[in-house]
């Protein structure tokens, strides 16, 4: 098949996979009833309602505050973390390197509930502190707490982008600064940091955007005080009117898309300017790490402290909850220990099934998704064309749909597009939904590693007589094998924690852990939820451990 045909076919399939759900949502926003109902008219009432709804503006402003706040927290921390890990002799790197990424893979609802058990008003840590000083000096049910926790848990995103950029800064540039008399720290601030600024800003824009789709944290931590963000506002909107009003939900999604578009534009500008800074392969790949000296252990402690707060505490909370019958003020934990929740879980109908499905979707589904992302990345790879610019926006747009809307849109697709109908109640539909929603993430992962291949290696293939397709197969793909494996691992980890996208597509036989958790949460079976969460965390850890053992490198 000629490469041009592959290119157009891939992008056409990608575009329709993205535009179908988005188009449906945008269309829905201009109607006065569900698009499939017999009496439906064009109307702008939905826009009017949402724009006049006080709650919308409250939720929007809270979202802006949370997004900005978490960006302000995660960016500096992520940069410091990346610098410590990529450039210094901080101890225990082999251990910290996989650990620092863990917050990305934790389900936000699980994390949030873990915080309630650990740091809530009667949480384990809180009661301990209260015993010492008489009061609990924090409240986790506040916009501030949501912002801080979201900030801490998004540090790995910044870390990933910044450390990749730091590794690309030629050692000679830093060494040049050293020879002119700059101290290591001054080099870091005056040479390395400016060089990676575009990457850092790029990550900052991403975090800011992720702030708008935050759902799990505000759902659990915002519940008691009724704090609304855009994604949880959707829930309230549904209920306020009694019956779900798809046109109103669609309007909110349109609003999020409108926020996303300038952000994607900004990212493209930053990416273009970051290319200016790429210093082409200095020979001195090996460089001596900066000696931290007396600061070695304090730096280590800083990382461990961050990890303890953003992962350790909530995981401790959830794990503890899974082995006690009750907890809280006035409970002696030693008297309430039990393994009954895990036993109950084994008996729970479909629990084992759900665990198996989750692993299947993560491994086999993850591999299939990465294959799709690789195809899309290849199609866009080194193509000077306006199509690529459009495709860049397209891959990002599915992220603008909060999970519950994405799930609904996917159901509609499988219902109203006849060729898809037979797949509706199979794991395939769930897989397709996941693949579309995580398109931006997965494609960026793969295309990022493709860009690291020297352009000349591919040109050499062309000049000796290889067609574009052959060169892609024989040169590009073998060279990004490591990156693709890493992408598979990351996608596995994400799919294992995902659920909301598939919520309407799941049925008997296609349950996943996430959907079980949500339904158990609703009926108050927190015992089982926490036991399931622990199992989910174990699966994630096993996947991560196995992959690292097999030599998959998470970053370059």
């Amino acid at each position: 098949m000629p490469f041009a045909l592959f290119r157009f076919a891939t992008l056409a399939i990608m575009a329709s996979a993205v535009l179908a759900p988005i188009g449906l949502i945008v269309y829905q926003s201009f109607l006065d009833a569900p698009f499939f109902s017999p009496n439906v008219h064009f109307s702008l009432d939905a826009f009017q309602f949402v724009l006049e709804d006080e709650d919308f503006w409250t939720a929007l402003s809270t979202s802006v505050i949370v997004a900005a706040g978490m960006t302000a927290i995660s960016v500096p921390l992520g940069v410091v973390l990346a610098f410590l890990m990529a450039r210094t002799d901080v101890p225990g790197k082999w251990l910290l390197e996989p650990l620092v990424l863990v917050p990305i893979f934790m389900s936000a609802v699980v994390l949030a509930f873990g915080y309630v058990v650990a740091l809530g008003p009667v949480g384990i840590v809180s009661t301990f502190v209260k015993g010492l000083i008489g009061v609990v000096p924090w409240s986790i049910y506040s916009v501030t707490a949501i912002t801080i926790i979201a900030g801490l848990t998004h540090v790995p995103h910044v870390y990933l982008y910044t450390s990749a950029a730091l590794r690309n800064v030629g050692a000679d540039l830093e060494e040049a600064a050293r020879t002119t008399g700059a101290s290591p720290w001054w080099v870091a601030v005056s040479v390395s940091l400016p060089m990676v600024t575009p990457a850092v800003l790029y990550a900052a824009v991403l975090i800011f955007f992720l702030g708008f789709e935050l759902f799990g944290l505000p759902l659990v931590l915002g519940d008691p005080e009724g704090i609304l963000v855009l994604a949880t506002y959707l829930y309230k909107l549904t209920n306020k009117l009694g019956v779900p009003s798809y046109q109103l939900m669609a309007v909110v999604v349109v609003a999020i898309i409108l926020i996303a578009i300038p952000l994607v534009w900004l990212q493209r500008v930053l990416l273009a300017s970051s290319n200016k800074y790429v210093s082409v392969g200095g020979k001195a790949a090996k460089r001596a790490p900066l000696k931290l000296g007396a600061l070695r252990w304090p730096a280590f402690c800083l990382i461990v402290l961050w990890f303890a707060v953003s992962v350790g505490l909530p995981v401790f909370g959830i794990a503890l909850r899974s082995v006690v019958t009750t907890w809280g003020e006035g409970v002696r934990l030693s008297e309430v220990l039990t393994l009954a929740h895990y036993r109950d879980l084994v008996d729970y109908p479909n629990a084992i099934h759900a665990i198996v499905n989750t692993v299947l979707i993560g491994t086999i589904g993850g591999a299939a998704s990465v294959a799709c992302y690789t195809a899309v990345a290849l199609a866009m790879h080194r193509w000077q064309s306006g199509m690529v610019r459009i495709a860049d926006y397209l891959v990002m747009i599915p992220r603008a749909m909060p999970g519950i809307v994405a799930g609904l849109a996917m159901l509609w697709l499988f219902l109203f597009i006849k060729p898809l109908a037979p797949f509706r109640s199979t794991l395939f539909s769930v897989w397709l939904a996941y693949t579309i929603v995580w398109l931006a993430y997965g494609t960026r992962l793969v295309s990022g590693t493709m860009l690291q291949i020297g352009r000349e290696l591919e040109e050499a293939g062309r000049s000796v007589g290889g067609s574009q397709g052959r060169v892609a197969r024989d040169v590009t793909l073998p060279l990004v094998r490591g990156g693709i494996l890493a992408a598979w691992l990351l996608v596995f980890l994400i799919f294992v924690r995902e659920y909301s996208t598939g919520v309407y597509l799941l049925g008997p036989g296609t349950e996943v852990i996430g959907s079980l958790m949500v339904s158990l949460w609703g009926t108050g079976a927190i015992d089982l939820v926490s036991a399931l969460s622990v199992i989910n965390i174990l699966i994630i850890s096993a996947g991560l451990g196995l992959a690292l053992r097999l030599g998959v490198r998470l970053h370059g």
Binding site: G454, E456, L457, E459, A460, G461, R462, S463, V464, G465, G466, S467, Q468, R470, D474, V475, P478, L479
Partner: protein, 354 residues
């Protein structure tokens, strides 16, 4: 017959013109060097020939077969051009062994396994790296990598080979050896070659003809001797060798001759490029053409010796007179103080300051 013909090729990045209409031809068995400073468009031109860049106008043909024709909308893909290209970075595929790197073009051409082994072995042996076949590129030295890159580009016997700064990644000593070896190899194989370089010595040593590019246009082309001895412009004169540059005014411009006047001095020379009487001009003279003289005379200046550098086979001397600095060579050490220097009229080019 011309093997490679390039006619009026133009290329633009955004609003910047990189190539403003370049033409050249390479005869069969010839080596042509594309010489020029960085930014002159020489690598871009090479990439246009290879098909890695697409000009917006012009025509490129090989042995009568059109590779690119802007007016007819013909633009063959790189793999359809059948050229050999050696990259500056060598671009060896890190995931393939030396053997696999060299065998790949043959595999693409559907050569059978046995033939591949034989032809790769022959190619590797002919350039003296037959024993490295099973190594990976990162296990090779720079010189070895260069030979592998060459073997890969030659193994399928392309009619024309393109070389992008083939020697720039080698250290100085190796470079001189490689230059001789490369020239020999190309002429032994009866190939035509187009070679990009920024080093005029390399260009003169390797090429049958040199094309000097400046700002996307051909400044001058000719044999190495013509280029070195009869530069057509100040740029060519200055680019092709190590020079002294004397500022002054042009005088007595006529029939290809001109004089340089500065202060109360007058030096006769050859007019280089368009020149008007009384125009601000430079006199340009190669270092090795400045002669020590025993006393005053025409075209001679009295200058003070300021420093002396020992280069092994000779000395390099620096003379000064007011603001004027002149460098030259001598076979023996010179006593300090003032000396007479002669600028032979046929070696002094007078060119307008543009």
């Amino acid at each position: 017959m011309a093997d490679l013909v390039i006619e009026n090729v133009k290329l633009r990045y955004g609003s910047i013109d990189i190539l403003k209409g370049v033409s050249l031809s390479v005869e069969r068995g010839q080596i042509v060097a594309l010489l020029g400073p960085s930014g002159s468009g020489k690598t871009t031109l090479l990439r246009c020939v290879a098909g890695l860049e697409e000009p917006h106008d012009g025509r490129i043909a090989i042995a009568g077969k059109t590779l690119f024709d802007g007016s007819k909308g013909v633009a063959l893909a790189p793999e359809e051009r059948g050229l050999g290209l050696v990259f500056q970075s060598y671009a060896l595929w890190p995931h393939k062994t030396v053997f696999a790197n060299v065998a790949y073009p043959l595999k693409l051409r559907g050569v059978s396994g046995g033939d591949i082994r034989a032809r790769v072995a022959r190619a590797l042996d002919s350039i003296g790296i037959g024993h490295l076949a099973e190594r990976f590129p990162h296990q090779l030295s720079g010189g070895q990598q260069q030979r592998v890159a060459l073997a890969r580009a030659l193994v399928y016997e392309p009619p024309v080979i393109l070389l992008d700064e083939p020697l720039s990644n080698l250290d100085a000593k190796l470079r001189e050896e490689a230059r001789v070896w490369l020239r020999q190899l190309i002429s032994d194989l009866g190939l035509s070659a187009l070679c990009v370089t920024h080093d005029q010595v390399e260009a003169m040593a390797m090429a049958d003809r040199i094309l000097l590019l400046n700002g996307g246009l051909v400044e001058q082309q000719g044999t190495p001797e013509e280029m070195y001895q009869r530069p057509a412009s100040l740029f060519a004169a200055e680019f092709m060798g190590a020079n002294n540059r004397l500022p002054g005014k042009a005088a007595g411009v006529r029939e290809g001759r001109a004089s340089l006047v500065f202060g109360d001095q007058r030096l006769d020379g050859v007019a280089c490029g368009p020149l008007a009487e009384g125009e601000e001009a430079y006199g340009v003279v190669r270092l090795e053409r400045v002669r020590m003289a025993d006393g005053p005379g025409p075209n001679r200046l009295r200058m003070a010796l300021t420093s002396e550098m020992y280069l092994g086979e000779r000395y390099e001397l620096v003379f000064k007179r007011d603001d004027l600095l002149v460098r030259t060579f001598a076979t023996a050490k010179l006593p300090g103080g003032e000396h007479w220097l002669e600028f032979p009229p046929d070696a002094l080019w007078v060119a307008a300051r543009s």
